[in-house]
């Protein structure tokens, strides 16, 4: 029996947290909340809670370090910690948005999950099976169920293959269809994504950006996957074409019961398409919760700053803007304690922040945030 099957999720079992002052892990009474301003390390982390039974993808403590070599003998002098302990899950049919600024590790996370790059450590379960220990045979089966859509559809399509041939290649490799059946399927796929069967004889350069992204999506759909990891699928597109592709992705999800991991830097697009949202900073998830909880009640100071920085096309709409000082630190040499503390504006920031690595803790109702200055219960 798989790890997930048969076990009710602890989060679900906890229900609506009827007993907020009981430690969800041990069931023991927890001490009185610390006085305001003190650091609060309580709250279960995503690693403590069992993923729900309908989880399609479970990521546990995923790490991907890129070694830094220096000198004549290429001594290993350190690591770029691109992904540094990621834990989350995706339920069947939901869309989880993974947002963060450039260099936060969101793309590396996506690539590592599907083993396009080998992880340094951690575990990924796809439908209960361990991805990192799969043999070639299993891996091929995984690729039939989990696909990837890239940001730049042009560089991910072979310029010397017609679109039809590119799709045929997928069908052949996975032994899904041959000959006339393949031809029919290619036409069908192109129509699903809003092109026409006649487009199959054309080359990628003959299409506009939006059309190419539709082809990239058709290629992902060719294997009838359950999961699609979309890495910035609309950020290279014109504003007036973005909505077409976003709507297409939503339609396909409804029609084929797809699960999306939607990686993007555009917070408005992520809000629009996601059910849950994870915010990354320097290789870690610093906040993860249901979409509305993140956007209406961001707990982690970084999320607050990120959201307040988004320019909104509503003139006169005055908001309190938190302008962060300084730049994102290098993931090769992240700050001690909370990676965000040097830029943090939280009024209670103190020496603890530079010492304690904040756990991604449930601050109430499944709203996880990595900040020791946000007391347990803040999300209730």
């Amino acid at each position: 029996m798989s790890i997930i099957e048969g076990q009710a999720s602890r989060r679900v079992a906890q229900g609506d947290r009827a007993l907020p002052d009981v430690d969800p892990l041990s069931g023991a009474d927890i001490p009185l909340p610390p006085p305001k301003g003190d650091s609060d390390l309580r709250g279960s982390t995503p690693d403590d809670v069992e993923p729900p039974a309908d989880a399609l993808l479970v990521v546990r403590d995923l790490k991907k370090y890129f070694p830094i070599h220096k000198g004549f003998f290429s001594r290993h002098v350190g690591d770029v910690k691109a992904v540094d302990g990621l834990s989350f899950f995706l339920r069947k049919g939901e869309t989880v948005g993974l947002v963060g600024e450039s260099g936060c590790g969101k793309t590396t996370a996506g690539r590592t999950i599907l083993r396009m790059e080998e992880a340094t450590s951690g575990e990924v379960l796809f439908d209960g099976k361990k991805v990192f220990t799969m043999d070639r045979h299993d891996l091929r089966r995984l690729r039939r169920r989990a696909q990837y859509v890239f940001q730049d559809p042009f560089s991910s399509l072979n310029p010397r293959l017609t679109v039809g041939d590119a799709l045929r290649e997928v069908l052949t490799v996975h032994r899904l269809a041959r000959g006339d059946a393949a031809q029919r399927r290619i036409g069908e796929l192109l129509e699903i994504v809003g092109l026409s069967a006649e487009h199959g004889v054309r080359y990628p350069h003959e299409f506009s950006g939006g059309q190419r992204q539709r082809i990239g999506i058709a290629r992902a759909l060719a294997v009838e996957p359950d999961l699609i990891i979309c890495d910035e699928p609309v950020s290279a597109l014109d504003v007036s074409v973005q909505a077409q592709v976003i709507n297409l992705l939503q339609d396909l999800q409804d029609e084929f019961h797809l699960t999306y991991l939607f990686i993007a830097h555009d917070l408005s697009v992520v809000e629009h398409i996601s059910d849950r949202v994870a915010v990354m900073y320097l290789g870690r998830i610093v906040e993860i919760a249901d979409r509305d909880d993140i956007y209406r009640n961001p707990l982690m100071p970084y999320t607050q700053a990120l959201l307040s920085a988004v320019p909104v096309a509503r003139p006169g709409h005055k908001r309190e803007r938190i302008v962060l000082r300084g730049d994102v630190p290098s993931p090769a040499n992240p700050p001690s304690g909370c990676p965000f503390h040097p830029r943090c504006h939280h009024p209670l920031k103190d020496a603890d922040c530079a010492k304690i690595v904040p756990p991604l803790a449930d601050k109430g109702g499944g709203h996880f945030a990595a900040c020791i200055k946000v007391p347990l219960g803040s999300a209730d």
């Binding site: 809003g194 092109l195 506009s208 014109d238 007036s240 077409q244 408005s268």
Partner: protein
């Protein structure tokens, strides 16, 4: 107040293999001292070529500012037509009177010179300062744009700075000679959202302190809404709408503006589906006849496909290039019937020319997606 810059009927064409690309095709606008004018449009709308034309940075050939185009710049000595002045005069105007910052600061900074020297170069060239004075002014400029420890940063090379810091250096270079107009072409597009907020705040502050006019070119409607006083919306090399940011965003008169505003997801607005502008941006070598937006427009009819509308003046400082100005009843009618811009795209059989060599327009296909599973 007299405008400081007045562009009228600007036409900049390029000779390309595919034919004559009319990238900017009859653009007129004014910039007043101390204001921020937003020029918003998608890629291929001609917004960048407009700004490069004002700076006379169009490579000629293949490009050419067509006869009849006027770029009137007013300074203490009177009015000059930048489309006519010699390269020698223009070199004096660039940097001194009109300065520009670009999207990618790394490509505009010289990687083999220290950032300080690059500011010093501009100061010595335009203002004839001594080496020592120029260096001091350079440090002052770096401090002004919010670079920490400017005495040290002045001797660093561009690659030692982060993207946000580089853009600050570019702004320092651009503002070193106290220009009257600053053209910022997608100044924050390459930056992360938290760094973008820093740079936009910096530009706002500097404008208050130094009082220059800013032309902000961007595709991001949010950036326009938060930083500009007035906006012109460009499409297919032409101005489609003009007005105060308040008016244009609250009550867009041109269908293209309306479509753009309705198709972007906005923070905090919980729409299930986004409205869609069907089709793709046409190519500059083959603009559609009539209104250049007609094939993507839910309100279009025969007249719009055949006759190009003028840029109607519809109020003080408010303009729209659309036949609906004369036929407002049509807008109501279509909205009642189909909802105008809808998630599904209300029209079929649009014939917008595409860069994809006659590939059928995407708009047609948005709804032809039904499939039996």
């Amino acid at each position: 107040m007299e405008p400081i810059l007045k562009v009228s009927d600007l036409r900049t064409y390029f000779r390309a293999d595919a034919g004559l690309a009319r990238a900017v095709d009859g653009v007129s606008f004014e910039v007043h001292p101390g204001e921020t004018l937003g020029i918003v449009g998608e890629s291929g709308s001609g917004k960048s070529v407009t700004s490069l034309s004002v700076m006379r940075l169009i490579p000629e050939p293949p490009g050419e500012i067509q006869p009849g185009s006027k770029i009137l710049f007013r300074d203490n000595e009177g009015e000059k037509d930048l489309a006519r002045v010699t390269e020698e005069e223009m070199r004096h105007i660039r940097g001194n009177d009109i300065a520009m910052i670009f999207q990618e600061p790394m490509t505009s900074l010289n990687p083999v010179f220290k950032v300080g020297d690059q500011i010093v170069e501009s100061l010595r060239l335009h203002q004839g300062l001594s080496k020592k004075d120029a260096r001091e002014k350079a440090i002052d400029m770096l401090r002004l744009v919010g670079i920490p420890i400017p005495e040290q940063r002045v001797d660093e090379y561009p690659h030692q700075l982060s993207g946000g810091m580089r853009q600050r250096v570019m702004i320092a270079i651009a503002l070193a000679c106290d220009p009257k107009v600053l053209i910022a072409d997608e100044p924050t597009t390459a930056l992360d959202v938290t760094i973008q907020a820093q740079i936009l705040e910096l530009l706002n502050r500097l404008q208050e302190e130094l009082g220059m006019a800013i032309i902000l070119i961007t595709h991001d409607l949010g950036v326009v809404a938060e930083t500009c006083d007035r906006v012109i919306v460009m499409y297919a090399g032409q101005v489609f709408e003009e007005g105060s940011v308040e008016d244009v965003f609250r009550d867009p008169q041109n269908p293209y503006t309306e479509g753009l505003l309705r198709s972007i997801p906005r923070l905090g607005s919980h729409s299930e589906r986004l409205a869609v502008i069907p089709g793709v941006v046409p190519s500059a070598t083959e603009w559609p006849t009539g209104c250049r937006f007609h094939a993507r427009c839910p309100y279009g009819w025969e007249k719009t496909a055949q006759e190009e509308p003028p840029l109607f003046e519809i109020g003080p400082g408010r303009k729209s290039k659309c036949w609906l100005v004369e036929h407002p009843e049509r807008r109501e009618e279509i909205r009642r019937e189909t909802g105008g811009f809808t998630p599904e795209g209300a029209l079929t059989g649009t014939g917008a020319s595409t860069p994809a060599a006659g590939a059928p327009d995407e708009g047609v296909d948005v709804q032809a997606r039904d499939r039996e599973v």
